[in-house]
Subunit: 238 residues, 3 copies
């Protein structure tokens, strides 16, 4: 399997993905007013959570997160940078989104590749790519006691770019065209799709036959009551 | 171990359990106003979460959820059906409960059987049956940012039917009477117990020596403030 | 590896750590008004969660929690005691903290030792010690739908005592001085540091460059809206 992809490049892509996801976790921790250890833990969980889930599920234990010191130190570096140098509060939301998009692109590629290396079928490898890309963010949101962005209707589509990127990698595997240039292309494809989704507010449909007006009003009211951090954001951007 | 239980029947029972749990996850996603991907993800997590936990813990990796395409596609089918054909909003609560009860019955049986196949003791197999049956629902509620139904006092008992069903299977194993008819009987027993609990509002006691009045008032007030989705339900049923 | 540490003593330390963590989980369940099964489940999850995470990650499956009946029964005993004999409501917060501190001390020691036994480096073993010590409490808070204490700025430092205790064990391993007396000393060190942190309200800093006044006000307001259980505590102590 080492011929599929240069181990060294995959390692650096992994570290880059961990770093940008960890930045997004650390920024959310700052927004939620966590202390320095909360920032570090949320950076570690966001950066390593998707890969940890992947490794535990495919049986690659102990996971890279616990055998490669670089994997552990990278989120600490991200937490350190955010702790001292994080952007102005009002810029945080946008920065979280862009870093998160970059992590999405990198992780759906490495997740799909590693899933296939460990014997999963192409379809399961695509699912594993999506799980690797989305897992860290879901854990981040669960630990911050928020409804995961991945699931929310009022957030731009997240799953589609990851599925497209993972499927592109599966196609490359099928065509025996896995090379640094092509896989980086797949990561960029997912990254750009996610940025476009953010730029143009692409949203996925909700269930049919909903009693729209009443339910939406209730839901909106409920979300406002449940998620006062939105209030913080509005103040921050005001 | 294949003589214990027809692999094909266990496979179909598994798929049926996954399907009904996935329906319950998809319906909750609709109630929480998630988009189509949120519906699919919550269906997958609810349908596969308990079995995934079981397989990771007993070392059956990669788990069936990632090696059997049917396991992955079944929740998607459930999400598809709910997306287009979900019942009227006011009927959702009841449907979630009944489907969830069916999944409970099926999963406590298959979880106990698989735990024992992988070498757990009878007691541990019962615990594994309960964890398999309750795991998907707990993950569903955690992702939807709700207190798991499993834990709440103001919900009908969920653990008792699962423990009874799992214990019945353990007894069957001990008596060497594991056959399709007897195991389906154990699943029906748990299913019916859960339906009875729902019908007659069976609730489990809370801790002794609580200062009932004050604390209950606080808790009720707190729950109302925390869980506006209850408001949505009341409107739906009005 | 059996020369590192008496298996019997490690087993008893593990059971003691499970017991005190389970007490903290059961007490939180009482405070959250869960029923008897919710109390038992939260006791099991809090007591076994950290070790379960550790065992799954290092590949020690099936985990001790599912092979050793004592590991399963200990949290039930804790739940039983709390159910019938839990202290007056107004004393609960303090009791949770002290029991939790004792579990922290014991688990960071056993987690570091077991991580090293399974081939992790000393650094990774320290991380595993922290994860073992903090994992159960994080799962407890996530299931109770609270922001994990571990992450919150307005809670006394939790990570520092665990890191100090785990690092002390790593030093003992490095110096080949792992004996019951020295490892119990490391557990006591972490326990006492945590108690001092609670006594003197040691808190960790938050990110630099925050717009303190506005953001704090927002955060306080938000937390008050999100976490009415604080209201319950104030009433309980009034």
């Amino acid at each position: 399997m080492d011929s599929l992809f240069s181990p060294s490049l995959q390692h650096w892509l992994d570290l880059a993905g961990i770093f940008v996801f960890a930045i997004s976790g650390a920024l959310l921790a700052v927004r939620r007013n966590f202390d320095v250890f909360g920032i570090a833990v949320l950076a570690e969980v966001t950066g390593l959570g998707g890969g940890l889930f992947r490794d535990v599920v495919i049986g690659a234990v102990p996971p890279a997160a616990f055998t490669d010191l670089g994997y552990f130190l990278t989120p600490l570096l991200a937490a350190f940078l955010v702790f001292f140098l994080h952007p102005e509060v009002e810029r945080i939301n946008k920065a979280v989104s862009v870093f998160d998009a970059a992590g999405l692109g990198l992780f759906c590629v490495t997740g799909t590749l590693k899933g296939h290396e460990y014997g999963l079928s192409l379809t399961s490898s695509v699912v594993m790519g999506l799980a690797t890309a989305a897992g860290g963010g879901v854990l981040r949101d669960v630990l911050a006691n928020e409804v995961p962005s991945l699931l929310r209707w009022d957030r731009e589509v997240y799953a589609v770019p990851a599925i497209v990127g993972s499927s592109a990698v599966a196609l490359l595997i099928h065509l025996d065209q896995v090379r640094p240039s092509t896989t980086v292309g797949a990561a960029l494809l997912a990254f750009l799709l996610r940025l476009l989704a953010l730029r143009y507010n692409w949203r996925a449909p909700r269930a049919w036959h909903r009693r729209s007006a009443t339910v939406d009003a209730q839901a909106t009211h409920g979300d406002a009551a449940r998620e006062p951090e939105n209030g913080g954001r509005q103040v921050g951007s005001g």
